[in-house]
Symmetry: C2
Subunit: 180 residues, 2 copies
Amino acid sequence: MDDLMTIIKQRRSIRNYSDKEIPEEILQTLLEAVQWTPSWANTQCWEIVAVKDTKVKEEIQQAVPASNPAFKSILNAPVVLAVCAKYGTSGYYKEVVTTKFGDWFMFDLGLATQSLCLTAHSMGLGTVVVGLYEHDKVNAALHLPDGIDNVALIPLGFPTKVPKAPKRRDVSEFLHYDSF
Amino acid sequence: MDDLMTIIKQRRSIRNYSDKEIPEEILQTLLEAVQWTPSWANTQCWEIVAVKDTKVKEEIQQAVPASNPAFKSILNAPVVLAVCAKYGTSGYYKEVVTTKFGDWFMFDLGLATQSLCLTAHSMGLGTVVVGLYEHDKVNAALHLPDGIDNVALIPLGFPTKVPKAPKRRDVSEFLHYDSF
């Protein structure tokens, strides 16, 4: 296996996949990567819906604007993972919000998403994190109960096309010492 | 090097460190892990302040409640990384918010934080993500300009005590197929 830095640097956003199915044991391994992600006071606010059914994918795709570069990926991917959050736990203490940032579900889902996408890449799978769409339509398509909300969609499949890396800021551009 | 799943599963929140300094090249490597993290439309909204100065650490520690289990870690760690966000880029398109979740900085900082903490662990370093404190006091201590906010603190050091893993939900408890 590549070392971790190679995995981090070579992971790309993959939007084109072969029609090869994802074996169930690979899916379980990816979800183990989520399971062992840290979270606010170990609240683990994540819920994941693995969408394989074409009808559900079609319904989800209707929430995504056709201008989104991942529009076709929703139907093209053998599995779409809907990353969802349970509200009112992360960032809370005894049911009261503890910081100016309110509910911390976005931060914890970000942690979990990176665990999942790095693990997928290390196993030869491609992912792309999709955030730009009408979330309430996806909530309805997935029959999410009150208090649980979909935040991101992650189409998942074996890559057929690997894009070039978008340019990154140099470390020196965002690293400061002791004071900004 | 351990494989990625071992790194993910064995990373713990470390709150006790030896007084061994962090070599500058290790710090740069950790920041490269942030650099290559994906972000909303590659907006890379992160800014990191590496705090080594004891006076700045003391000022930061005053923002943390003594009841926070990471209270002592702030002074104990050879380096404290302050993870900060530039507002108004992640989640935006042409300066307009695009989803019901508003600014996506929390999600992107979560992604970057997991890259950093996994890389630190793979290099024998310990981290803990601290979120429960008065953020505006830390903003002042770091002289952050308007539009940039500190979100989390990550004390970093060589571990002297590795706690047991807190219990996790089984994958079957948070994985659903096609519908919740």
